[in-house]
Point group: C2
Chain length 449, copies 2
Amino acid sequence: MKKVDVVVLGGLSGITAGISCRRHYPGKKVIMVRKEGTVLIPCGIPYIYGTVGGPENNVIPDGLLENNGIELIKGEAIDVDRAQKVVTLKDGETIGYDKLVFATGSVPLVPPIPGIDKENVYPVKKEFDYLSEVQQKMSGVKELVIIGGGFIGMEFADECRKGRNINVTVVEALPHCLQMAMDNEFCEEAQARLAETGVNILVNEKVEAILGDGKVSGVRLAGGKELKADMVILGIGAVPNTELAAKAGLELGFKKTIKVDRYMQTYTDPDVYACGDCAEKQSFFDGRPTGIMLASIATSEARIAGANLYSPTHQNCGAISVFSTVINGRAFGVAGLTERMANQTGAKIIIGTAEAPDTHPGGMPNSCPLKVKLLFAKDTGVILGGSISGGKSVGEMVNVLSACIMHRMTIDDMVKFQMGTHPALTASPIMYPIVNAACTAIIPLKGIA
Amino acid sequence: MKKVDVVVLGGLSGITAGISCRRHYPGKKVIMVRKEGTVLIPCGIPYIYGTVGGPENNVIPDGLLENNGIELIKGEAIDVDRAQKVVTLKDGETIGYDKLVFATGSVPLVPPIPGIDKENVYPVKKEFDYLSEVQQKMSGVKELVIIGGGFIGMEFADECRKGRNINVTVVEALPHCLQMAMDNEFCEEAQARLAETGVNILVNEKVEAILGDGKVSGVRLAGGKELKADMVILGIGAVPNTELAAKAGLELGFKKTIKVDRYMQTYTDPDVYACGDCAEKQSFFDGRPTGIMLASIATSEARIAGANLYSPTHQNCGAISVFSTVINGRAFGVAGLTERMANQTGAKIIIGTAEAPDTHPGGMPNSCPLKVKLLFAKDTGVILGGSISGGKSVGEMVNVLSACIMHRMTIDDMVKFQMGTHPALTASPIMYPIVNAACTAIIPLKGIA
């Protein structure tokens, strides 16, 4: 039997947890066990079907493990004996550990729709060969139906039409696509942008059945309407991959995620940690469990878990939830709460908004209008969240907001925020919309308006 | 005699101060008095000569004043009678005020080099007609010498060669261009990028005389070497425009800036405020006076000044100094201290560095390598500054750092920073270099390395 200090089970966040562990405890021997031959960049999966051209261009190189002195074992862990501290692989190999990290991630949610198991119906699995097969099959497809208008669905819809003569329809059960993530005005902007590419978008529509004789031929909606389809992509969310954890006797919490404390240590076993999609998350705001799954949260938790394995070092302050997407060339991002979420909690909020070109003067090449919406708690002025649409700078602008939220900046702080500006890179110092949105928010706080 | 509540003297930061005042005190009548017919975007001036095509494409529209109910008087204020609270213009008009804001900015520093007043020698003034004249003259120029390798000089050098068959030479007295702003490794990267465009860069060279018979024909360096020149641009810095303030009896401080407190109120007169390049600045870090002049600092101070006119509202926490530039398509930015500055104060620091492509996978279109360097105080782990080079996202990434610096985040905070990531917009969650630079900085802090 092999014996090491640390065994990490799983892919993306496992890499980061392993690196973090080795950085803090360079004397420890770390083995990563994973089923997948190669780890795909999860957020890059939709781009396989358009911009990057194939799964081979969307992998996380294993060199990252080698360079950090982490041994990789490609195999499936099928049993964890916590009493003996031994992991058993499918091929019978056993590995003894001192500390164990679950980074087993998530698998796509497959709803019990009749016909869901027909040929050419694809939940978005993070598996190389599977996604390759989808790509090959897609070349013959004329009618693609995407079930679910979240990020995955919207990005797939945008990408699949690139270089393909294909009809794409997105079917969303809620009144807006991206509604779980963004406020209505941004959802509407995103939908309009996607519609411009020729994608059909159906909202308020539930899929009742997937039709066809073996192979999918169509989709029937709740109202009885039928859509032709020779391929269906399912993008309606993911569920944590925690079967092995449950079998190992680890306590599961919200939506079957592994219960962990702020050190990412499992409730059940002080020598077992968990991070990423398989681990329970608490909201940064109210501390309640949240079902948010983002690669950026997963890696953040992994850095914390890896550092804490032999000494409690970093505390997880809860998920702020920061993300961005691009739909037909327009970027959208949110950090923290949306107005919808804040209203659901009953919070009294103040909203500030501002718009500006993302260069100055606006006549610089590739200039793009930015739209910023900030939310503050009415009685304290503390920032709760922000939404932005615009050009590529949105990706880092939501990170500016994330830093502000993390330290509970107030309207006063944000009015005084010292941004750097440059004609080709940012909005003008007079117009800088994060600051100006905060300026407009101060007025109701002062009771003037 | 006209009588209003607030008179603002000056351009860029005056606009922001006026808007801020009107936002907080909508009942107040505000007049802006300025000499210039139009206000240019100061950071956009180098781009007049290349990317944007002329000064007419680089103006701040006066509609901004109109929309905010601010009256504009184009004229030169030549006297302020603080006892009577009256401003007198050159044409004899007088305006009574309750509160007065100096936002008179800066003028280019013109060193006493022999021959500096020859024809075709141009300090970079922020004046429309003047800059138009420079543009017209430039069309006949074959040999352009730029004195000063700071931002203005480097950006002019980069822009003036766009669409022009012209030899450009930058002459810098220090060992590196941009040395006052960036650490050597970034200066060297910027110089190399600029040299690739065909610009000649001379460092460690002082200009001793400007040669020519009426019109400039060359430049003589301290070693005796002569450069041919039929135009010279001077970009060696600026001095505050505070003659009128001095005449009005306001106390001047560091390098003849107007002395102000944290509310931007002048030391001398509770009804007179100042902001922008003409106002004294203190460093966010040590609180000492600093000569930094940035449009973004000016507008930040203007928001503070305008809000405070009738009630102390916002306190200026001192200049962090955040900026970015683009040299031959590569962006450079710094927030807070550089290693050079930190060493000058004797601070014990820890440096963290990381590199990553600014997209993920790196094969996304227009991907560009990012280089991040962070500085932390050794004994507290508090972030002191950061430098970044990369693609366009650098402009907002330094703003992420600015938010972190403003709230004195520690290495621990930054390791846990929750960035949003997206394949087309940011580095990958595993590689995100601001976080990973913080991760590498924690090791010396822990005493491992």
